[in-house]
Amino acid sequence: MSMPKYVLKRILLMILTFGVVATMCFVLIKLLPLPAIKSMGKDANLIIKKREAMGYNKPLMVQYFRYWKHVFQGDLGLGEQMYEAQSVLSIVAQKLPYTIVVNLYSILIAIPIGLAFGIYAALRKNKWQDYVISTAVMVVYSVPSYVYAFLVQFFLCYKTGWFSLTVASKAEADFISWTMFKSMLPAIISLGFGTIAGLTRFTRAELAEVLTGDYLLLARTKGLTKSQAITRHALRNAMVPILPMILSEFIGILGGSLIIENIFAIPGIGKLYITAINVRDYNFFMALTFFYTLIDLVAGLVIDLSYGFIDPRIKMGAK
């Protein structure tokens, strides 16, 4: 199968999967009882009228097509239980930068560290340096991210008072500014541990595997120094699986971390999602569910396809 044809097939399949998942979620969410109306009298009547106008009382099929029609017009509905009467899309657009900035900082710091540790451990395989790094990675990788968040919060925010507990708001500082960076640092550090450990482990395993290859021996035999052989042959081949992993980290920054955003009260998309679930705002819940589903699907697709681009020897769609 030729490359463009394969890509097209995968994209179509992805859209199909997304359609089915979205439909399933839509139906399941719409089958839930509407949130109880808390206000009384006139206000209650207003809400009932509003729901009528939004088509909540129409048959499910009608609502379904109406929803998609609006989505294609760029309208994801209005907030009901939170951000009342505000457009879901604009609120999501407001929150997204926080998530992206925090996670972007975190992986930009974590990736070089993770790669460096991984490469170092692989080059010192079965020596004490490797054992120390591998053991540390094992421990760091296993401990849940929220435990780091608690540790960072306790030691860096309470005990030493170096960092503030909350993230600076957009009114106080630009997204790309020192103030913002400093206020986000506890969250960035907490997120970084897992990424560093994961990348170190992966890099070590891949590079160690490559280093045992015969062609590396050949490279040495033909007169390359050890460092030449490693940078020109071993690292390049080890990068074939490592780069897609890094790529997936970059796509993952859109989704962010639900739990870290909650612990550090970052007004990002993850926090919005959890709030939407807890207060039962179905329009937000639906929109963000679609968003998260789409991120996962796109990430999977991009990773699969990236192998072909990074290493031309890998033929896409070949049996």
Binding site: T17, V139, Y141, S142, I259, Y273
Partner: protein
């Protein structure tokens, strides 16, 4: 007779081959090693995995056994013993003594010392230092206060029957529970932790009092002077039981020279208001003194027992999920991999779709739809089962693709083995190692996800007699700066568990890999 009729050969035509010859082959002198025996032998050599396995066993035993041996219960909440620090009799010398450092003014110093002065053992374990604030000129004390003893006294309202029973208890055991009522018992002190502790003469005798004693010596140490409610009769309010030595047993007199006695109770509408030493009263009610190895949380629940209950719930959930996912995954993956073709294509699309739904959505929808009908825990179980088997099915499917066309399977099929026999007897055992490893590694994943969902409040498993690790974490987070021990133990538990399971899983993966046989010999 037909030469080729092999079915009816007469018995006498048979003869033993090589009868009477000496067999020179040596008999096998070692026992055959089966697949699991071999794996176990390899696993035993991996020290870190063995340690991890022991830790896991210990944690599981902790979760299941602790509730039976503990004096406490999740549903037991104590209004006075809140936020107690961990206390261990054995490790008290390591600072595990239930004491908390606090910086107090003169009033606080007087207040804490007064509790000790009345009962004879001080709640202030150590005065570390004192300093005078340069700006305000106020003197501060840095104290090591016992969080158990600092509760001190409290008023309890008893009906006649229990009041008499309490006196009876005092008389038989000789333990002093009731203490004299202070003269100021009607005043509503707002600035002090517990007004029942103000038994001494105060510098300021009104509701605004900070608990500062009336007089101090030259070093600033308080001189306590008892300020009890005095009555003319020794047995006023029907008190006929133990009395303090230091109180007024008729030695003090009123203006007219009549002897006065300290009152141990005052009558109110329903019975008697008694001032009790809380630690003794606790012992009287519960049959043991408060002694919390991991301390208590903000609701006065014992953290050790909460952790055990939470861990037990997590383990049960995780074990159930991994067993069910194992079964579904194996059957699904086997059918996919064995039949291939159109069946595989359709089943893979179903997997794709289920896999595309974020887990948090699955958990939320199950919770919103089912929690009211079947309960929070079963709906969480369903959510885990919904997508959890996909990993196992994927492994099984890959293994089936690898083995289904090999010669031995073909041979078995030629001999007439049915599909079911081929799947479960011939192909599946090949991949059992990886499947078991995968199944075991579901457990830490489930425990982590469960703690995350309960932490975020998406799933609420907390009832009066049930708690979960995630709930404990989210409750403890609010007290992270003041009482970090509340969050420390659940966080430590889950970290240890995850590390142990990952190490264990690694060891298991290596052990089940026959290509590593003899690799280290």
């Amino acid at each position: 007779m037909d030469r080729h009729d092999y079915t009816n050969i007469p018995k006498e035509k048979f003869a033993l081959a090589r009868h009477g010859e000496k067999i020179t082959d040596k008999q096998l002198d070692t026992k055959p090693i089966g697949y699991f025996r071999d794996a176990f032998n390899r696993f035993k050599k991996n020290k870190s995995s063995m340690v991890a396995a022991i830790i896991i066993i210990f944690l599981v035993l902790f979760a299941f056994i602790t509730p039976f041996f503990s004096d406490y219960d999740v549903s037991a909440r104590d209004g006075y013993y809140k936020n107690l620090l961990p206390k261990s009799k054995v490790f008290a010398f390591l600072g595990w003594d239930g004491c908390k450092e606090s910086t107090e003014t003169q009033a606080g110093y007087d207040y804490y010392n007064a509790i000790g002065a009345e009962i004879g053992s001080s709640s202030v374990k150590e005065v570390k230092s004192s300093f005078v604030d340069e700006i305000s000129g106020i003197k501060y004390y840095v104290l090591d206060v016992d969080t158990y003893d600092k509760v001190g006294f409290t008023y309890v309202d008893l009906d006649e029957e229990s009041y008499l029973a309490l006196q009876e208890y005092q008389n038989t055991t000789g333990l002093q529970v009731c203490y004299p009522i202070p003269a100021n018992y009607k005043t509503d002190y707002v600035a002090v932790g517990n007004a029942a502790n103000l038994w001494y003469k105060l510098a300021v005798e009104d509701s605004g009092s900070t608990g500062e004693a009336a007089s101090h010596d030259a070093d600033g140490n308080p001189i306590y002077e008892a300020n009890y409610l005095m009555k003319k009769s020794a047995t006023s309010a029907k008190y006929n039981s133990l009395r303090l030595i230091l109180d007024c047993d008729g030695t003090t007199t009123d203006d007219e020279g009549n002897p006065l006695y300290a009152a141990y109770a005052v009558k109110n509408q329903t019975g008697y208001r008694v001032r009790v030493l809380y630690s003794e009263y606790y012992n009287y009610i519960n049959g043991h003194y408060a002694d919390h190895l991991f301390g208590t949380n903000q609701h006065g629940q014992d953290i050790l027992v909460c952790l055990a209950y939470g861990a037990r719930l997590s383990f049960l959930l995780a074990f159930a999920v991994s067993i069910i996912n194992f079964i579904i995954g194996v059957v699904y993956g086997a059918i996919e991999g064995y039949y291939g073709g159109a069946v595989d294509l359709i089943m893979e699309r179903i997997v794709d779709i289920l896999n595309a739904v974020p887990f948090i959505v699955v958990a939320t929808l199950f919770q919103l739809h089912l929690a009211k009908k079947v309960g929070a825990v079963p709906s969480l179980l369903f959510a885990f089962i919904m997508t959890g088997w996909i990993g196992i099915a994927y492994r099984v499917r890959t293994q089936f693709y690898r083995f289904k066309n090999s010669e031995y399977v073909l041979a078995a099929r030629t001999l007439g083995a049915k599909d079911r026999r081929l799947i479960f007897r011939h192909i599946l055992p090949n991949s059992l190692g990886t499947i078991i490893t995968g199944t075991i590694l579901i457990i830490p994943g489930v425990i982590f996800s469960e703690s995350m969902l309960t932490y975020l409040g998406i799933v609420n498993l907390e009832t009066s007699s049930l708690t979960s690790i995630g709930t404990m974490l989210s409750n403890g987070q609010a007290y992270l700066s003041t009482y970090p021990h509340i969050i420390l133990f659940p966080a430590l538990f889950i970290s240890l568990l995850e590390i142990a399971f990952n190490l264990f899983g690694n060891g298991l993966r290596d052990a089940f890999n026959p290509s590593l046989r003899g690799a280290d010999e």
